[in-house]
């Protein structure tokens, strides 16, 4: 099996090359087939790898080649497949395959079909590189690569200037985070003398907090994660990224790319455990992001924006989990989130496809009967995300909340309230879209139809996963043995002893579970009363809103604040540099040299008087000067 691991990323790369070169010449069927098949084969290989690691428990090292050696820096291009990366491989290739299948149906009428599949394959390649790397540099290549593909895919319909702007915004915000990440890698090399995981983590496991600049390193790594995983304050790109096609949102912004930050921190868990201050910062930022995004999602009317803010909120949960030491819980949430969020996005895509491109929920409604498969799968996804057992989201979210409770009661309370909000706005979305009467135009009503099988099959698969996926992490008190925790134990082995007691009494755990489930159900019922019984529909844009609703609807004006705080001073600074330093300073210097030459020549020209007597006089003076110079030792 070791010999075939290199195929896992290379197959999608081959798909990129084939589809990229043949995007205009190959038929749409061929492009879709090739792209999806290659990812399916990668998925098969990932399953084989997973089974091998599950049985042996040994990580696999694949050395590809010595990349470069400069002085004391030796970097190999090699892969490390252990329990953590094997699970990520399954997610990336599995969900990736389902989305490829979905796109074959969704993007069927688009002119850039071949280009789309090429970009999708390229993205899968880079994401695989990110999780397979055995040192920080290979991870960084994948990190940057997925940022690039995200830019290409968000701005896929680039002829619309606001879409192109959204792509640029995503890329630039990612870059801000990447700078922190890069400086963190430099510091790691400076401290440990190597950037390979084995070396760094091996050395770190023997150290104590304070032996090395752990806080600085981990803060910088976290900055990278903030940019990539859309945490406060670098999250504004994710809602704008909904400008891309829906499969893109599903793949990149729900299942894979945004979880890269979580993966990176989970991988470097020993470094973070040795810096408790950073963990505190991570938890607070995650919690704040979760609450902030949930508040904004309460009043959004665009179906994709609701899902975008919900993604940001769930990512906040994951970082909260990482910050309080629940590494397994956070990663568990990554897995379950991949299932239900991809499902929700693909379902939203199906709805948008059915209503001929309308995305405003105020113009939908009553689609339950017309789109049954979409309805039932989205219902499953909504119940999963709200954390209602026995669906997947309940187990992962509850584990995070339990660890948060152990860490600090305030965290737990805020987390539970945010969970209630999550349940409320998700069910609000469901009710507005599927219940009641259809509020759109007559034209749209005629065209309402269920999506083709290429789109509904992935929905069904993901729905099944959302329902049963939680059982891999069933905690002991509910009868299971936490398979995931045992499986991932070797990865977090060095951190676990340092984290302290992680046990709650059985009764406390039951109470916590009851509280969170109860809260979710209450929110569900409230949303039902509001939107189905009373048939309330959110008001149009021109109507008045209450102050809080207005703030929430306008996303707390955060984009405007950024504009005033950051962009305007930068513009002023660059204007200053342009007008003063460049134009006046540098140009003045260069032009001044030219002018100086001209002016001096104008002056010197006046020596040529044409007067012979003057010339002779000058000659005599010159001769006297020469004589004095050469005879100076004689002249006393």
């Amino acid at each position: 099996m070791d010999n075939y691991i290199w195929l896992i990323p290379v197959l999608p790369l081959a798909g990129f090359i084939i589809n990229g070169i043949g995007r205009n010449t190959l038929s749409k069927g061929a492009v879709g087939f090739i792209g999806s098949l290659l990812v399916l084969i990668s998925f098969g290989l990932s399953v084989a790898t997973f089974l091998q690691i599950n049985s042996t428990g040994q990580p696999i090292n694949v050395e590809l080649y010595d990349w470069f050696s400069v002085g004391s820096l030796h970097i190999n291009f090699s892969f490390l497949v252990d329990q953590l990366s094997s699970l990520m491989l399954l997610i990336i290739t599995g969900v990736g395959f389902l989305i490829h299948l979905y796109s074959a149906g969704y993007m069927h009428d688009d002119a850039g079909f071949g280009k789309f599949f090429a970009y999708l394959n390229l993205f899968v390649f880079f994401m695989l590189l990110l999780v397979l790397g055995s040192n920080y540099l290979v991870m960084f290549i994948g990190w940057e690569g997925v940022g690039l593909c995200s830019y290409l895919l968000i701005g896929f319909w680039y002829t619309n200037p606001s879409y192109a702007d959204a792509a640029k915004k995503a890329f630039i915000m990612n870059r801000i985070g990447d700078l922190g990440f890069l400086i963190g890698i430099f510091l790691i090399f400076n401290t440990f003398g190597s950037i390979a995981y084995a070396d760094v983590f091996g050395k770190a496991a023997t150290m104590h907090p304070g032996d090395a600049p752990f806080v600085l390193i981990t803060i910088l790594l976290f900055v990278g994660a903030v940019g990539k995983s859309a945490q406060l304050p670098l999250f504004t790109w994710l809602p704008d990224a909904m400008a891309g096609p829906t499969p893109v949102s599903a793949l990149i912004h729900a299942a894979t790319m945004v979880t890269a930050g979580v993966y990176m921190i989970a991988r470097s868990n020993i470094l973070f455990t040795l810096a408790p201050d950073t963990m505190e910062v991570v938890a607070i930022v995650g919690l704040a992001t979760a609450a902030f995004a949930a508040l904004i999602a309460l009043t959004q009317t665009d179906i994709k924006k609701v899902l975008a803010y919900s993604t940001v909120s769930q990512l906040g949960y994951m970082f909260l989990g990482l910050g309080v030491g629940a590494y397994t819980g956070a990663f568990f949430h990554v897995l379950t989130h991949a299932f239900f969020k991809a499902l929700l996005f693909l379902g939203a895509g199906s709805v948008i496809h059915a209503v001929s491109g309308e995305q405003d929920m105020r113009k939908m409604g009553g689609l339950k009967g017309k789109l049954p498969i979409t309805f039932f799968t989205m219902l499953a996804g909504t119940i999963a995300i709200s954390g209602i057992p026995p669906f997947a989201g309940f187990f992962s979210k509850d584990e995070i909340l339990a660890h948060a409770f152990m860490h600090s009661t305030t965290f737990y309370v805020v987390g539970v309230i945010t969970a209630m909000f999550t349940s409320f706005y998700m069910f609000r979305m469901l009710y507005l879209t599927f219940y009641g009467k259809f509020r759109g135009t007559h034209e749209q009503e005629h065209h309402l139809h269920e999506s083709p099988p290429s789109m509904t099959i992935p929905l069904i698969v993901l729905a099944i996963l959302s329902i049963v996926g939680g059982f891999i992490g069933r905690p002991e008190i509910l009868g299971g043995h936490h398979w995931l925790q045992h499986y991932l134990a070797p990865v977090f082995a060095s951190s676990t002893p340092l984290l302290g007691e992680q046990e709650l009494s059985k009764s406390t755990e039951m109470v916590l579970m009851a509280v969170s489930v109860g809260g979710a159900l209450i929110a569900l019922i409230y949303a039902y009363i509001k939107y189905v019984k009373n048939n309330q529909v959110p008001v149009e844009d021109t109507e008045e809103r209450s102050l809080l609703t207005n703030l929430s609807y306008n996303k707390f004006y955060i984009d405007e604040i950024y504009d005033a705080l950051i962009r305007k001073p930068l513009d002023a600074l660059s204007g200053f540099f342009y007008k003063v330093i460049d134009k006046m300073g540098i140009d003045g210097l260069v032009n001044g040299l030219g002018k100086g030459a001209i002016e001096s020549s104008k002056g010197l020209r006046l020596l040529q008087t044409g007067n012979v007597g003057f010339y002779i006089f000058m000659m005599v003076i010159g001769i006297i000067a020469i004589l004095i110079y050469s005879l100076q030792m004689f002249i006393i």
């Binding site: 006089f617 001769i623 004589l627 004095i628 006393i636």
Partner: protein
């Protein structure tokens, strides 16, 4: 010794008159007198050949040529407009600087020896002729070419262009 100083004084006196005379014809005449004193200097040094050549070539030919040209120019104005006083003073100062430079550099040589005529026959025509035609034959021939070219040049420059009909 007295002879030398007398003749030297006369040379300087006439030279100053050359450059300060208003009428250019007067300048030429004073120059002739100056060259005459130079001839006496050559005789004092027993450079007989040079004295005679100086007399014949310089005073007889060159200065007469000057006189011819001056007549040709047909200067009616007796008093030519002189340069401004400022320029004159600047010129005198410039020349004075030059003189002082030369003299100051001579001072370092200290008192020199008297001019002892080691070979009193040095300036005789016979001896000078021997040196001229033995060692300096080539420059002698070339100077004849030089004189030829000067002649041709002068003729070319001075002829009026034939008017084309």
């Amino acid at each position: 010794m007295n002879t030398f100083h007398l003749v030297a004084f006369l040379s300087i006196f006439f030279a100053i008159l050359v450059i300060t005379a208003k009428n250019p014809v007067h300048s030429i005449l004073y120059l002739i007198l100056t060259f005459f004193t130079f001839t006496i200097h050559y005789i004092l040094l027993n450079a007989q050949f040079l004295a005679i050549v100086n007399f014949i070539v310089y005073m007889g030919a060159i200065l007469v040529l000057f006189l011819y040209t001056l007549m040709l120019i047909n200067l009616n104005k007796e008093a030519e407009p002189a340069k401004s006083n400022l320029v004159k003073i600047a010129a005198v100062i410039g020349g004075g600087c030059f003189l002082i430079t030369i003299i100051a550099s001579i001072r370092a040589l200290g008192a020199s020896n008297p001019v002892v005529l080691q070979n009193p026959d040095l300036g005789l025509v016979k001896n000078l002729g021997k040196v001229l035609f033995n060692e300096y034959l080539l420059p002698f021939e070339i100077s004849s070419v030089l004189l030829l070219s000067a002649m041709v040049g002068a003729v070319l420059l001075a002829t009026k262009e034939p008017k084309t009909v």
